[in-house]
C-alpha cells in the first residue's frame, strides 16, 4: 500500500503526512513552483480545485442532461432519479423558506449534490488515486475536496455573502445595521440612559457580529471536520495490513451515512440561514 514515491520504505507518520499533503502550486520569484508553498497565501491546492470542479461538472452534466430531456411525458429512469432529487430538495426548501426566490432552491440543489459528490470521493480506497497519480508523475494527491478547509470555507463564504445580501434586501441597509446593533439589548433612546447607549450598541454589535460570523465558520468547519476525520480514519485503517479489509468495509458503510448527512446538513443550514436573513422581525 505505501509505495507511491521512489523514496523507499515509509514510516507510518510519513505515510499519513503524505496523504494529507495537497498538490500545490504557487508563484515564487515570478516562477511557478510546485509543492514548496507552505504558508504562501497565494498558493493553489491543485488537487482540491481539480476534483471539486470535476465533480461540479459531473453534477452539471447529469442534471443538465435531464433538464434538456425534461418533458411532461413519461420520464426515463435517469430523469426520474433527477426529478426525485429535485423534488426532495424542493420540498425541503419549501418547508423552511416561505418567500419567493429563484435562487435558494437551485443553490440548495447545487450544494447538496456537489458536496455529496465531493464527500463520496472518501469512499474510494485512499491509495488508489494517489498511486495512479504517482505512476503518472503527480507526487501528492488529496482526492476528497471537502477535507480541504479552503474548499469548505470557499463555499461557506459564498453563503455568508448571500446572508448579508438577503438581510439587506429585505430590511435595507439601515435595517441590517439596526439588527447588528439594537439586539439583543435595546439601547435607551431618551433621558439619562442616552449616555449608556453607545456602550450597549457596541456590546450588541460585538455579540451580533460573532453570531453572524459563526454561521459560515460553523458551516464550513462542521463539514471539513467530519470529512477530515473520516478520511484520517480511512488512512489509519489503510496502515493495518490485511485487517484493513473488514475495518475499511465497516467504516465505509458507516461513512455512507456521514457523506449523505453532511451534504444534507450543509444544504439545510444554508437554507435556514438564508431564511433567517430574509425574515422580517
Amino acid at each position: 500500500m505505501a509505495g507511491e514515491s521512489g523514496h523507499g520504505a515509509q514510516t507510518s507518520g510519513e505515510y499519513i503526512a503524505h496523504h494529507l499533503q495537497n498538490l500545490q502550486v504557487c508563484r515564487v520569484d515570478s516562477e511557478w513552483v510546485w509543492n514548496h508553498c507552505a504558508g504562501n497565501p497565494m498558493a493553489i491546492n491543485v488537487d482540491s480545485m481539480v476534483f471539486s470542479v470535476l465533480l461540479g461538472l459531473i453534477f452539471i452534466l447529469i442534471f443538465r442532461g435531464a433538464a434538456k430531456k425534461a418533458s411532461a411525458g413519461q420520464p426515463g429512469k435517469m430523469q426520474a432519479f433527477v426529478e426525485i432529487v429535485i423534488d426532495f430538495i424542493d420540498s425541503s426548501v419549501k418547508d423552511t423558506f416561505h418567500g419567493k426566490s429563484g435562487l435558494i432552491a437551485p443553490l440548495a440543489l447545487t450544494i447538496f449534490v456537489w458536496v455529496f459528490f465531493m464527500n463520496l470521493m472518501d469512499l474510494i480506497p485512499v491509495d488508489w488515486l494517489p498511486m495512479i497519480g504517482a505512476a503518472v508523475g503527480v507526487p501528492y494527491l488529496k482526492v476528497v475536496p471537502t477535507t480541504d478547509v479552503n474548499i469548505t470555507f470557499g463555499m461557506s463564504i459564498a453563503v455568508f455573502f448571500l446572508i448579508i445580501f438577503y438581510s439587506i434586501k429585505t430590511k435595507g441597509i439601515g435595517g441590517f445595521i439596526a439588527e447588528l446593533t439594537l439586539h439583543p439589548i435595546a439601547p435607551p433612546m431618551k433621558g439619562f440612559g442616552l449616555i449608556a447607549a453607545p456602550f450597549i450598541i457596541a456590546f450588541n454589535f460585538i455579540l451580533e457580529s460573532v453570531s453572524l460570523l459563526a454561521k459560515p465558520l460553523s458551516l464550513s468547519l462542521r463539514l471539513f471536520g467530519n470529512m477530515f476525520a473520516g478520511e484520517l480514519i480511512f488512512i489509519l485503517i489503510a496502515l493495518l495490513g490485511v485487517w484493513q479489509l473488514p475495518l475499511h468495509f465497516g467504516w465505509a458503510v458507516f461513512h455512507i451515512l456521514i457523506v449523505t448527512l453532511q451534504a444534507f446538513i450543509f444544504m439545510m443550514l444554508t437554507v435556514v440561514y438564508l431564511t433567517l436573513a430574509s425574515e422580517e422581525h
Binding site: A43, S48, A70, A72, P106, L107, L109, G154
Partner: protein, 156 residues
C-alpha cells in the same frame, strides 16, 4: 491546511455552478415536473368522469334491456292469445262447415229420395193403371173412370 487562493477559486466555482443550475437546470425540470403533475391530476379527474359516465351508461343499458324483456314478454303473450283465438276460430269454422255440408248432403239425399219416390210412384201408378187397364179392358171404360184412376195414382 493553510488558507490560500483555493478558497477564492472554490467560491468562484461555486458561483458559476449555482448560476448555471439556477439558469439552465432548475427551471426546465421544475416546469416539467409541474406540467406532469397537472397532467396526472387532469388524467385522474378524466378517469373519474369516465367511470361516472360508464356507471350511468350501464344503468341506462340495464333499463333498456329490462324494457325490451318486458316488451318481448308482452309480445309473446299477445301472440299466444292470438294463436288460441285463431285455433278457436278455425275450430268454429270447421264445425260450421261440417254442419253446412251435412245439411247440404241431407237435403240432397232427401231430394234424391223424393225424386226416386216420385218416379217410383209414377211407375207404380203406370203399372197399376196398366194392370187395371188389362183387367178392366174387359169391364171398364178407362175414359169413364179417369177421375177414380188419377185419385188412386195420387194416393200412391
Amino acid at each position: 491546511m493553510d488558507i490560500n487562493m483555493t478558497l477564492l477559486g472554490q467560491t468562484i466555482a461555486m458561483i458559476v455552478f449555482v448560476w448555471f443550475c439556477m439558469k439552465f437546470i432548475w427551471p426546465p425540470i421544475m416546469t416539467a415536473i409541474e406540467a406532469r403533475q397537472k397532467e396526472i391530476a387532469d388524467g385522474l379527474a378524466a378517469a373519474e368522469r369516465g367511470q361516472q359516465s360508464l356507471g350511468k351508461a350501464k344503468a341506462e343499458s340495464d333499463e333498456i334491456v329490462d324494457d325490451a324483456r318486458k316488451q318481448a314478454t308482452q309480445i309473446l303473450d299477445q301472440a299466444h292469445a292470438r294463436a288460441n283465438e285463431i285455433v278457436a276460430e278455425g275450430k268454429a269454422d270447421g264445425i260450421k262447415e261440417r254442419e253446412r255440408q251435412l245439411a247440404a248432403a241431407t237435403a240432397e239425399v232427401e231430394q234424391e229420395t223424393n225424386r226416386a219416390r216420385e218416379e217410383l210412384r209414377g211407375q207404380v201408378s203406370a203399372i197399376a193403371v196398366a194392370s187395371a187397364e188389362k183387367i178392366l179392358r174387359r169391364e171398364i171404360d178407362a175414359e169413364a173412370h179417369e177421375d177414380i184412376l188419377s185419385k188412386l195414382a195420387a194416393e200412391l
